[in-house]
Structures are given as structure tokens and as C-alpha cells.
């Protein structure tokens, strides 16, 4: 399992090389990996459908109780199969769709890395590992949405998606840490077994809110739904993959996964059912009034995500069965439809439904399978989408509360859903031939047709034989969401009942709506104006605010005047030391002035005299020389107290500092006194306060002994374990070598920084 997930990252690393070697065939070659993974996951199927769940674990950070552990049960296996299966079609599809694009190699890298992250996310058993993969999917999807990085919109909306999902990810991190505290473990398998522990914990409400923020942002629930349609700036294979089977479903996965532990409470039901239902309706409504091919599909994905959230919220056995069936159905038809959208764009250059019409003769195979997938989207018998929709309606009618509003929204969604399916399934293919930007000369290549054909056909096969999907995986998946075995089953025909009546009614009403599509869209023009005040507006306002704050704080703190930097640092130090000293009631130790010897007094006198000279002199060279003498006298102090090494270092550093200052002095303009008396008094004040504070600090350490000094250990161990008599050196290069490594690293960085400053200034002047 570990190697299965790592293999995606390894193959991602060599993907550009593979692409160079194999050229046109690269999509098929790289597609071997997801295909192999699919077969590998398939090998778990017999055990999992029998109701087993398998935990595989590798130690990662054992000290922190973080393991790289994987959980294979119905839910995670369903996702893993979808991710690897659809991944195969996407990779082969992209090989042809993006053929000749100069960054195709880079595309393979990111899409395979994304696939690996997604697999890790759904299979992880450890919460921290899951979070790491969660964030990896956000980052890789950012790179995928912004794939056409020379396009300003692609960059902007990639960033939007990243900020929304990563912002939610932060909330999620806090949420899962609380969850681990409440559940007593970081292992999902253990938390899920102790659901009551979490539900009765004092942290239940905050952790629920935080986790839901994470899930809602990722799965584009209202009010975070706006980023998903914007993410359509990505190349079509990406949209087909991220926005059908994978990334946007991560939030749904999380809610489904945690259902046994978090679900079953009133707040869980109300929040998920309401937000889900509203998202469902918003999505389908916006889909109905969009005309862009990918926009329509993206909004209908929002609809699907809302439906799934609502069903998980309802949480009855039927609802969970419906959720899993709907998840499978949606992944199949939406993956197919997005790939069809890519074919429309690739062959006919059409990105908008208004530009299309009558294409069935030019693209017969595409048309046939697009219609099949659209039928599933509309929930028409005998497609698998119908099975899922019937179950959905049934569970809404039997919901434990809010039946009225949920039913209303579900019926409206069903009607509009049929209309949207008609837009997708009828508009481009039938009617009069509309002149498309490119005239399709031939059917799409096999690599691009494979996905729609197989996925749409599966929708039909599962519809005719729901037992296949049911006994295979859907039952097991619903069982892992419920946390207990389910005894429901999927069926195409439930007899004459309310859901069937609603379906039939929505078919008719949806058909009528499609017939009057143009008029209905015009009548809904006000939505655009209203949308200007929607949540996306809030997002842009927030981004502007962030930019404003960072501009403001840069102006104040990073203003380019060294003196202000020094003031901030020094005043901050003094302030923090002062406050801490007050808080902890630090006392000043005793100083024994009477023990001072005559040569020590002389040294102090020299120190004070050079200090005063440095402050008062008007000559720069004089000040430098005075500072030098100060430094040498300090070195003398070191030597007096038998710290020979420190003394020598001090002498050398002082020498070099003076040389350095002399070199710089030549570059300074003549000495001018520009500061007013007030400014000088302020600086003197800060200097005095800071100096006083540091002095107090030194004095207070005289008597303070919080811990035993470690020097005794160093002195004793220097020769026996460090093989050296010079304790200072042994400490530097052996006992505390890691510190020294850090210090020389800083030294090197500082030198490079100075180098860059000098060099780039010099080059600027030359220009």
C-alpha cells in the first residue's frame, strides 16, 4: 500500500523523461500506472465486500504517535477505485488533448502527484497523514488550475481555489487535533470505534464546526461554492478529474468517513442537511442559467456535492446507500461529460452551448455516449443515475426532520436537473447545424473517446444490474459510513411510489423548462446583478483587505531606514524583558564592589571612557577607533577570566570589524547633523532604557540558578568523551555541533546577503 502510493510520486518524478522518450504514446505509457493501481485496489475487493476493513501501518514519527497507516474499507476502496480508474482515462485522454503542448511533461508530473495525494487522502488511517495528503491535493490542484500560467485569469482563479481550500484546511487541522484529543487517538480506525466518546466530549461543537469548514470549502458548499466554477480555468482533463471524481469529493469523503464518530446528533443533521440542500439547489439553478459548457457542468457538480452532503446529513440507512450510489453515478457521468466537453472544445472549438448544435453527424460516437451520460445526469430510467435519484428522493421523504423544505428543494432540483441534462444531452447534438469555431473533420481519437465510452456505459450497466454495484462495493461503502452493516439493496424498480411520481413529474417539467430555456435564462438576468453581492464579493474584499494590511505594515515596519529597524528591535527586547521581569518578580543579585581589584577598576575606566568618546565624538573615524578600543578591552576581560579562546576570537573580530568599518566609511557622505534635539533625546532615552534593562538582566542572573549548570558536565566529559583538552572547542565542534552548524549557516547566509546587496546596488548604478 505504501509503495502503491509512493509509486505515483516516483513515476511523477520521471514523467517528463518518459514523455520525452515515448512522445505521442506518452499518455498510454503513463496510463499504465493508474491502471496497475486500479487492479491492485481491485484485489482488495473480495475481502472488503465481505465486510472486512484492513489496516496497514508503517512507523513515521513514532515519538509523536504519527504513523503512516492506511485503512482499506468500503468507503476508501470505492474512492480509491474511482481515483485510479478515472485517473487512467484522464492520463491517456490528456496525452492526446494536450498533445504538442510544450508543458505536457509538467502536466503529467502534477496530475500524477495529485493522484497520489488523493489516494493517500482517502486511504490514510492516521489523521495527520490524512491532513498532509489533504493539503497536498490543494497544492497540486492549484498548480493544475493554474496550468496555463501565462493566462492572468488562470493564475487568479488558481489562487482563489488555493486560498479558499487551504484556508479551510487550516480550520480542518485545528479540528482534527481536537478530534484526536476527544477521541483519544490519531488513528481513524480507533476514533470511529469510539463515536460516543467524541459526541459527548466538551470539544464536540468546536471541532465539528472546524472540520465542517474544512469539508465545506473543499467540497464547494454554499457559501464557498464560487471557487469551483472559477477553477474551470484549468485544462479540461483537469476539470474532468478534479471536479468529477476527486478533489471536490474530498470534503464529502471526510464527512462520510467521520459520520460514525460525529454524526447522529441534531446539529450534524441540521447543518449538513440544510447546507447540502441549499448548495444542491443553488448549484442546479446556476447551472441552468449558465451557457458555458464547463460552467454548466461545474455548477451541476456543485449540485451533486450538495446532494451528497445533504444525504450524509440525513444519515438514515437509505440516505447513506443513496449517497454512495449517487457518488458512484456522479463520478461516472460527470467524468464522461467533462471529457465530452473537452472533445467539443478540441474538435469543434466550442466552449459555449450557444455555439453548438446539430453535431451528432460529425461526432456520432461522442454524441451517443454524451447522451447516455446526460440521461444518467437527468436521472432517467434505466440509467444508474435513476437508481441513485430514486433512493435520494426516498430518503428525503423519510428524513428525520425538515421534510418540507428538503422535499421542496429536492423536487426543484430534480426538475432543473432534467433541464440541465437536456442542455447537455440535446443542445449540442440535435437541431439545426450551428457554425462552430472549428469544423470537426473527424471523430475524436480513441484515447479521448475511451473515457466517455467506458464511463457512460458503466452508468448503463450498473443501472440495468444494480446488484453489481450493490454487492460489489456500494453496500460495503455505506456500511463503513454508517459504522454498521447495512441490509438495504439497490434496485431499478421500486414499484409505483412517491419518488417515481416525482421523477416522472420532474421529467415533464424539466423538459418544458428546456424547451423555454432561452426565455427562462433572460428572465433570470437579475441573478447576475445579485451575484455581484454574493460570497465571491466577500472573497475579493478580503483579499483587498489583506493587501492593504500588508502594505500598511510594510510601510510602518519595513520602511528602509536602518535606524527604525534598530529602534523596533531594541525597544521590543527591552519591553519584553521589562514586562517579564515585572511578571515574574525578578530580583537583582548582590554585587560585591569591595572585591574589585585595582587592575579591574582600570579596565572598567577604559571601557567607560571609550564608550563616552564613541558617543560624543563628531568624527566617524574617532568613533570607530573608540569602538575598537572598547572591543579590545572586553577581550582583555575575557583573558583575565581565563577564557583564552573567547578572548582571541574577540580580538580578531574587533580587528576585522574596524577594517570593515573603515572600508565602508569611505562610502558615506560627509558628516551632517540632521537630527533635531527631540529625536536625539528620544534615541538617547531608548538607548538608556535598553542598556539599563540589559544590565538588570545580567545582574539578576548572578544569583538565579533555576537549573544546575551544564558547564560542570562539559568540563568533566571534555577529555574522556570529546578527546580534547580545549573545552570551548570541544563544546563548539562536538557537544554542540548542531548549534555550530546552524551558526555557520547563518554566517554564510549573511555573507551572501551582503554580497547581493553590494552587487545589485553596483549594477543599478551602472545602468
Amino acid at each position: 500500500m505504501l509503495y502503491a502510493i509512493l509509486s505515483t510520486f516516483l513515476v511523477a518524478a520521471i514523467a517528463p523523461a518518459v514523455h520525452r522518450v515515448t512522445g505521442r504514446a506518452s499518455g498510454w505509457v503513463l496510463g499504465l500506472l493508474p491502471a496497475a493501481l486500479f487492479l491492485y485496489f481491485l484485489s482488495f475487493l473480495p475481502a472488503v465486500s465481505a465486510g472486512e476493513s484492513i489496516v496497514l501501518s508503517w512507523p513515521w514519527l513514532p515519538g509523536l504517535d504519527i504513523h503512516l497507516s492506511f485503512l482499506v474499507d468500503g468507503l476508501s476502496l470505492l474512492f480509491a477505485l474511482l481515483i485510479s480508474g478515472i485517473g487512467f482515462f484522464i492520463v491517456t485522454y490528456a496525452g492526446r488533448y494536450l498533445e504538442g503542448h510544450r508543458d505536457l511533461g509538467r502536466f503529467y508530473v502534477i496530475i500524477l502527484a495529485f493522484m497520489g495525494s488523493m489516494l493517500g487522502l482517502v486511504l490514510a488511517d492516521n489523521l495527520i497523514a490524512m491532513f498532509v495528503f489533504w493539503e497536498l491535493t490543494s497544492i497540486t490542484s492549484y498548480l493544475l488550475i493554474g496550468y496555463n500560467h501565462e493566462n492572468a485569469d488562470a493564475r487568479k482563479y488558481a489562487l482563489q481555489g488555493l486560498i479558499v481550500t487551504v484556508g479551510g484546511g487550516l480550520a480542518l487541522l485545528a479540528g482534527i487535533i481536537m478530534l484526536a484529543m476527544a477521541g483519544g487517538s490519531y488513528e481513524l480506525s480507533e476514533i470511529l470505534a469510539n463515536g460516543d466518546l467524541v459526541r459527548e466530549h466538551a470539544l464536540y461543537l468546536p471541532l465539528l464546526i472546524l472540520i465542517l469548514i474544512g469539508a465545506f470549502t473543499k467540497s464547494a458548499q454554499v457559501p464557498f461554492h464560487f471557487w469551483l466554477p472559477r477553477a474551470m480555468a484549468a485544462p479540461t482533463p483537469v476539470s474532468a478529474y478534479l471536479h468529477s471524481a476527486t478533489m471536490v469529493k474530498a470534503g464529502v469523503y471526510l464527512m462520510a468517513r467521520l459520520n460514525p464518530s460525529l454524526g447522529g446528533t441534531d446539529i450534524w443533521f441540521t447543518t449538513l442537511a440544510l447546507f447540502g440542500a441549499i448548495t444542491m439547489f443553488t448549484g442546479v439553478f446556476l447551472a441552468f442559467r449558465s451557457t458555458g459548457v464547463k460552467q454548466v457542468l461545474a455548477y451541476s457538480t456543485v449540485m451533486a456535492l450538495g446532494t451528497l452532503t445533504m444525504l450524509i446529513g440525513i444519515g438514515t440507512e437509505t440516505a447513506l446507500m443513496a449517497a454512495m450510489a449517487f457518488l458512484l453515478a456522479h463520478s461516472l457521468y460527470k467524468g464522461a461529460l467533462f471529457m465530452v466537453a473537452g472533445i467539443l472544445d478540441h474538435e469543434a472549438g466550442a466552449k459555449d452551448f450557444l455555439q453548438t448544435g446539430g453535431l451528432r453527424t460529425a461526432l456520432p460516437i461522442t454524441a451517443a455516449f454524451a447522451i447516455l451520460a446526460a440521461l444518467s445526469l437527468g436521472g432517467v430510467i434505466p440509467l444508474f443515475g435513476f437508481v441513485a435519484k430514486e433512493l435520494m428522493l426516498e430518503s428525503v421523504l423519510e428524513a428525520p426532520g425538515l421534510v418540507g423544505i428538503l422535499t421542496l428543494l429536492a423536487v426543484l432540483t430534480a426538475i432543473l436537473g432534467v433541464a440541465v441534462a437536456a442542455i447537455v444531452g440535446i443542445r449540442p447534438w440535435f437541431g439545426a447545424r450551428v457554425e462552430t469555431p472549428k469544423t470537426p473533420h473527424h471523430e475524436a481519437p480513441p484515447a479521448m473517446l475511451a473515457g466517455p465510452v467506458v464511463l457512460a456505459s458503466l452508468g448503463l450497466i450498473f443501472g440495468l444490474g444494480p446488484g453489481l454495484a450493490d454487492e460489489g462495493l456500494v453496500n460495503a461503502a455505506a456500511a463503513s459510513v454508517q459504522g454498521a452493516p447495512v441490509d438495504g439493496y439497490l434496485a431499478l424498480w421500486h414499484g409505483i411510489n412517491w419518488p417515481l411520481a416525482i421523477s416522472a413529474f420532474s421529467l415533464v417539467a424539466g423538459g418544458l423548462l428546456y424547451w423555454r430555456w432561452e426565455q427562462a435564462r433572460r428572465a433570470l438576468g437579475w441573478v447576475d446583478r445579485a451575484a455581484e453581492y454574493g460570497p465571491e464579493k466577500g472573497y475579493f474584499k478580503m483579499m483587498d483587505g489583506l493587501v492593504w494590511i500588508s502594505e500598511w505594515q510594510t510601510r510602518v515596519l519595513q520602511n528602509g531606514y536602518l535606524r527604525y529597524y534598530v529602534i523596533v528591535i531594541v525597544a521590543m527586547t527591552a519591553g519584553l524583558v521589562g514586562v517579564t521581569a515585572q511578571l515574574f518578580d525578578v530580583s537583582v543579585g548582590t554585587v560585591h564592589f569591595e572585591r574589585l581589584q585595582i587592575h579591574e577598576m582600570a579596565i572598567i575606566a577604559i571601557l567607560v571612557a571609550s564608550m563616552l568618546f564613541a558617543v560624543l565624538t563628531r568624527s566617524r573615524l574617532g568613533a570607530v577607533a573608540a569602538l575598537g578600543s572598547l572591543g579590545f578591552t572586553v577581550a582583555l576581560v575575557y583573558v583575565l577570566y581565563s577564557a583564552a579562546d573567547v578572548g582571541i576570537t574577540q580580538v580578531l573580530v574587533e580587528t576585522l570589524t574596524v577594517i570593515l568599518l573603515v572600508l565602508v566609511l569611505f562610502r558615506l557622505p560627509g558628516f551632517l547633523n540632521l537630527s533635531s534635539t527631540a529625536l536625539r533625546l528620544r534615541d538617547a532615552g531608548i538607548a538608556l532604557v535598553t542598556g539599563g534593562m540589559i544590565t538588570l538582566l545580567m545582574l539578576s542572573t548572578l544569583d538565579a540558578r533555576l537549573f544546575d549548570s551544564i558547564s560542570q558536565y562539559f568540563i568533566e566529559e571534555s577529555e574522556p568523551s570529546g578527546y580534547g583538552r580545549n573545552i570551548v572547542n570541544v563544546v563548539l565542534v562536538d557537544f554542540r555541533a548542531l548549534d555550530t552548524l546552524g551558526e555557520i549557516f547563518v554566517l554564510a547566509l549573511a555573507a551572501i546577503g551582503v554580497y547581493a546587496m553590494i552587487r545589485f546596488r553596483a549594477e543599478d548604478h551602472r545602468r
Binding site: 579562546d645 576570537t649 576585522l656 577594517i659 580545549n726 548542531l738 552548524l741 554566517l747 555573507a751 553590494i758
Partner: protein
Amino acid sequence: MNMHSLILRTAGHFLLPLLLLFSVFLLLRGHDEPGGGFIGGLVAAAAIVLYLFSMDIRSARKVLRVDPRDLLGAGMVLAVVSALPAAFLGQAFFTAQWWEFTAPVFGEIKLSTVLIFDIGVYLVVIGSVLTIMLNLAEAED
């Protein structure tokens, strides 16, 4: 920058090899007597800077042979490499490894990863001081 002082120039010529030798001496004795990589590096850097003052920037760069930035990199690499043997032996990172043996002329010799680390420090110190000094001096012209 050229000081045109005959005394300084002559002294610089003779002091440079002596000081460099002294810096290596300080580096090697550091573990038992005052000295070590940091101090040795400072002495070596000071030696080059003295030469820079007595001659000019071009001769200083020539006598150094390599760009001081390369010394920075080489030093960092040595310092990090010295930590690795312990990791391969399954001990804690940076655990010192010692090899003692007697060579015909030199008598008893102690070699260690600690010495490699100290040489790394030595090179980084020379590199960073000279990167700053030489570039400042060059910007002067």
C-alpha cells in the same frame, strides 16, 4: 585603495604565508589548546585582508585563487558531511567518530569527523569574511 607603502607591501608579502601557516596551526591544535576553526578562519581571513591592503584587489583575488563564495559552499558541505558517518552507523546525528593510528614520521595521529567539521567552520569563516571584504573593496573602485 593602494596605499603605496613600501614597508606595508614588503611586510604583506612575507606575512601572508606565515599567517596562513599560523591559521592552519591554530585550526589543527584547536581541540587541545586555544585555537580552532573559527579562530583559524579569522586569522586566515585577516591575512588575506592585510595582503589586500598592501597590494590591490586583483592580486588579493589572485593569491586566493578561488572565489570566496566557493569556500562558503565547500565549508558548508564539509560540515554537513561530517555529520553523516554517525547516521550511517545508526548513531545519533553528529556523533563524533575517531580514528587513531601511528604514522612513521608524525607519530601518533588522531583523525575524526570533528576535525572535518572544524575544517568546514574554518572555510565558512574565511569565505564569509572575504566575500564581504573583497566585494566592499571592489565596490570602492
